[in-house]
């Protein structure tokens, strides 16, 4: 009950269309010239001091991207993006080496403080001794400026560093796995990302190692009209385990900002990756102006037997969200899970879901998706569950529930099921309803206000998914859901 009370207090403390995380930190930045052509790609690669093969890889991606067309099948509408009107690289002007927090700009630390990120992680960033064990790879715009806990992770053999650094220190690993899950020309936005990705996280967990702490990255889109092209690559070698948290906030803006990230997860025999996301980027104002475009490609490849991937996402932000964290269940008996809460309010649009592609024998997957639409928003679950002829014994359970709050919002469910052998069992259930009057009346009759009642019922609705979040995120996520729905009642 304490958490709910807190949720309500937070809601009350806010005014309509007031985005808690809308502020700009003025740190000098270094930009690549506006626009995108081959020289931009070369500029980025050179800035990061990349090896020759990496540049060739980027240029190849750029060439392919030019031949591709922007897809339009999602149930989202947004003004056409002018790719020549964006900056593709922005790095804080800083000393080249940043190994200790002392070197981090105090403004930057203040930024994290303002984000209202869990105190424990702020403490980590601030370098407090004996602070909780959460390793943060902070991505401030495009360059990872500080990676904490590197030493402790190194002791366990875990590699956790910006991908640009990994390219220098572990080129063989990056080269082996980069683009092996999401091929260069997989889709329009992934291809663009391959050409111009700025930075991101690289994680390698060696065989048999259970990562001693949860790894966490805070993405932050800061410079005006800067595309943010993150590239994350996580490899869990045989029998290892890692839990990765990704949380996002962005400052208030008038111009739409494009975010086209690619996340690749490679899971080998008996390994497990748990990937959790809380996304609350700026959704735009009450008229839907200025929000973030979040067009992300996330995919996990369970390459060997008994590999397991679990995606958990809480999507409350962005003007347009377009993402489908997927699992390729290649290894026999591998498992994929997808737990999602997508909240849209105002004029937000979300088209999100997952793909579970069963290729190996006795593979299992589970999809729990909870969509909440309020205001004039549109919320779509789109998913694919497929089994190959050889995927004997494949098993899927899908449940997607939508909750509608208000007369002008939309909730859509578009599941695709493709079963290609007689030994797989696929079940799918979906419901769409509004908040039950009976339940609201009951809550009101027990003395709760309308807002309190809604917060209580919504928290109940999404509980199945919240339970899957790591502790660090669960409380924050619960608050986020409530804050996102603020102003939608009555």
């Amino acid at each position: 009950m304490a958490a709910v009370t807190e949720t309500i207090r937070t809601v009350q403390g806010l005014e309509a269309d007031k985005y808690l995380h809308g502020f700009v930190t003025d740190i000098e930045q270094e930009f690549a010239p506006k626009g995108l052509d081959e020289s931009t790609v070369r500029f980025i690669s050179e800035k990061k001091g990349e090896p020759e093969w990496m540049l060739a890889w980027r240029l190849d991606a750029f060439e392919r991207w030019q031949a591709m067309e922007e897809p339009d099948w999602a149930k989202v509408h947004y003004p056409k993006i002018d790719y020549q009107d964006l900056y593709y690289y922005a790095a804080p002007k800083k000393k080249p080496q940043l190994n200790s927090l002392d070197e981090v700009d105090p403004d930057l630390l203040a930024t994290y403080a303002k984000l209202g990120i869990p105190l424990r992680e702020q403490a980590v960033l601030a370098g407090v001794i004996n602070s909780p064990r959460v390793a943060v790879d902070a991505v401030f715009d495009s360059v990872s400026v500080a990676t904490t806990f590197k030493a402790e992770l190194a002791k366990a053999g875990v590699i956790f560093m910006p991908i640009s650094e990994a390219l220098k220190e572990h080129p063989e690993l990056v080269r082996k796995y980069l683009g092996s899950v999401v091929p260069v020309s997989d889709n329009y936005f992934a291809c663009l990302n391959s050409a111009v990705f700025s930075d991101g996280s690289f994680v390698y967990v060696p065989p048999g190692v259970r990562c001693p702490m949860e790894l966490s990255t805070y993405f932050r889109i800061n410079a005006q009209s800067t595309g943010q092209f993150e590239r994350t690559l996580i490899i869990a070698d045989r029998g290892s385990y890692v839990s990765y948290l990704e949380g996002c906030t962005a400052p208030m803006r008038d111009e739409n900002q494009l975010h086209a990230a690619v996340v690749e997860l490679v899971v080998l025999e008996d390994a497990q990756i748990k990937y959790s996301t809380v996304q609350n980027w700026y959704p735009g104002d009450a008229e839907g102006r200025g929000g973030i475009y979040n067009f992300v490609t996330k995919r996990a490849d369970c390459r060997e037997a008994r590999a397991k991937v679990s995606w958990t996402q809480v999507e409350t932000g962005s003007a347009v969200t377009w993402k489908y964290p997927s699992c390729i269940l290649r290894g026999d008996e591998s498992q994929g899970e997808f737990y999602s809460i997508a909240v849209t309010n105002g004029r937000q649009q979300a088209d999100t879901g997952t793909k579970m592609i069963h290729l190996g024998k006795n593979t299992r997957s589970r999809i729990i998706s909870k969509g909440i639409s309020a205001g004039k928003s549109s919320n779509t679950y789109r998913g694919l569950v497929s089994s190959h002829a050889k995927a004997k014994g494949a098993r899927n359970f899908t449940q997607c529930d939508s909750l509608l709050i208000g007369k002008e919002c939309g909730a859509h469910t578009v599941p695709y099921v493709e079963a290609k052998n007689a030994h797989s069992v696929f079940e799918h259930e979906a419901t769409t309803t509004r908040l039950s009057d009976d339940q609201l009346f009951y809550c009101r009759s027990r003395g709760l206000s309308a807002e309190e009642s809604v917060a209580l019922l919504v928290n109940g609705f999404v509980r199945d998914v919240l339970q899957e979040l790591p502790m660090e995120f669960a409380v924050e996520a619960q608050k986020l859901v409530a804050v996102s729905l603020e102003g939608s009642v009555g």
């Binding site: 007369k407 079940e427 799918h428 259930e429 309803t433």
Partner: protein, 346 residues
């Protein structure tokens, strides 16, 4: 996807491909790559067909033509039972035909629609429109029984006035490509809709049951689709329920359950909900799986041979759809008709 694709067999550019979302699993242009030659004129068939035992008036198309040579029938059905037959005797040629049916105020009609043939690799394209006036009621029972190398598309649009009742049961046995598509606009205002389907496929047959239901007012919709697929056959179910702004009070339920009996068979399903009103209750369920081993084991332990046990279970599985047919004489014909095909399948 809310308006149906208008295929004109004379014009290849109107042929949908799998790049068209509504046809992603039934690539028409892959199986029909050039304009179809017109099917020959044949004599009008003897009255009857699968529902011959039921006393009814009849409209029969022979290779897409009515006895007077027309390709479009305008029917006003003000009561009773009517047979609508599409009879094909053609090979490597095609026909297209249209039917417009009006059911006037308060009339109650049963339509027995059959696709019959003795031909081979033909292409058939039927377009139907139904218009039900205030308080009218129509039960449409469709049997699609066509050769394995035929291509057949039947597209219907349904308009309903207040108080109308529309019930549909489609039984498809597939063809090289067989598609039955229904577009229905549900205005609420006391309208009741039931849309059921059943497919029984073997060999390398392909059947596609597609429905698009648009609620512009509240009201009730019930949809149940079941199917059994074996061999290398492929079944497609695409069901969409759209609830437009203001269609409050909509209560729509959709179910699709498929039984896969062979490792080379395939079922593709897309049960879709698109909802723009908040005072609604919408649900869909979708399952694909094999026969329950435990149930099979139980029946066998009672001394029933395996094949019979399988037939028993599949019959029970599809029986639900047949049982929902309201017009008893038709139900009594469809039941054994389905049972006979199931035995061949299992």
């Amino acid at each position: 996807m809310s308006a149906p694709f208008r295929i004109d067999l004379r014009d290849v550019s109107t042929f949908p491909t799998r790049r068209d979302e509504a046809w992603r699993w039934s690539d028409f242009r892959r199986v029909v790559s050039s304009p179809a030659a017109p099917a020959p004129e044949i004599a009008a068939p003897e009255p009857g067909g699968p529902f011959a035992a039921i006393e009814a008036s009849e409209t029969a198309f022979a290779n897409g033509r009515l006895p007077d040579g027309d390709a479009t029938a305008y029917l006003t059905l003000d009561g009773g039972v009517h047979r609508l037959r599409f009879v094909t005797q053609a090979d490597a040629s095609g026909w297209q035909a249209g039917v417009r049916i009006l059911v006037p105020d308060g009339a109650s009609v049963v339509l027995l629609e059959t696709y019959e043939s003795s031909g081979g690799a033909y292409v058939a394209n039927a377009a139907l429109t139904f218009h039900l006036e205030d308080g009218a009621s129509l039960e449409r029972i469709v049997l699609m029984d066509e050769p394995a190398d035929a291509v057949s598309v039947s597209t219907a649009t349904v308009e309903l006035k207040p108080g109308a009742r529309f019930a549909q049961t489609v039984v498809a046995t597939g063809a090289r490509l067989q598609r039955h598509e229904t577009h229905l606009e549900h205005p609420g205002q006391g309208v009741e809709v039931r849309m059921d389907g059943l497919y029984l496929l073997d060999g390398s047959r392909h059947a596609d049951l597609t429905t698009v239901l648009t609620h512009t007012g509240g009201g009730e919709t019930r949809q149940m689709c079941k199917g059994v697929v074996t061999g290398q056959a492929r079944a497609v179910f695409q069901g969409k329920i759209e609830v437009r702004p203001g269609a409050d009070g909509t209560d729509a339920r959709m179910r699709h359950d498929a039984l896969l009996l062979s490792d080379r068979a395939e079922v593709d399903a897309k049960p879709e909900l698109e909802i723009y009103a908040d005072d609604v209750q919408c649900a869909h369920g979708n399952t694909v799986g094999a026969l329950d081993d435990e149930a099979l084991f139980y029946i066998r332990s009672r001394g029933v041979p395996e094949v019979e046990a399988k037939i028993l279970l599949t019959q029970a599985f599809v029986g639900e759809v047949v049982d929902r047919i309201g017009f008893e004489p038709a139900r009594e014909i469809v039941g054994p008709w389905v049972a006979q095909r199931l035995e061949a399948l299992v």
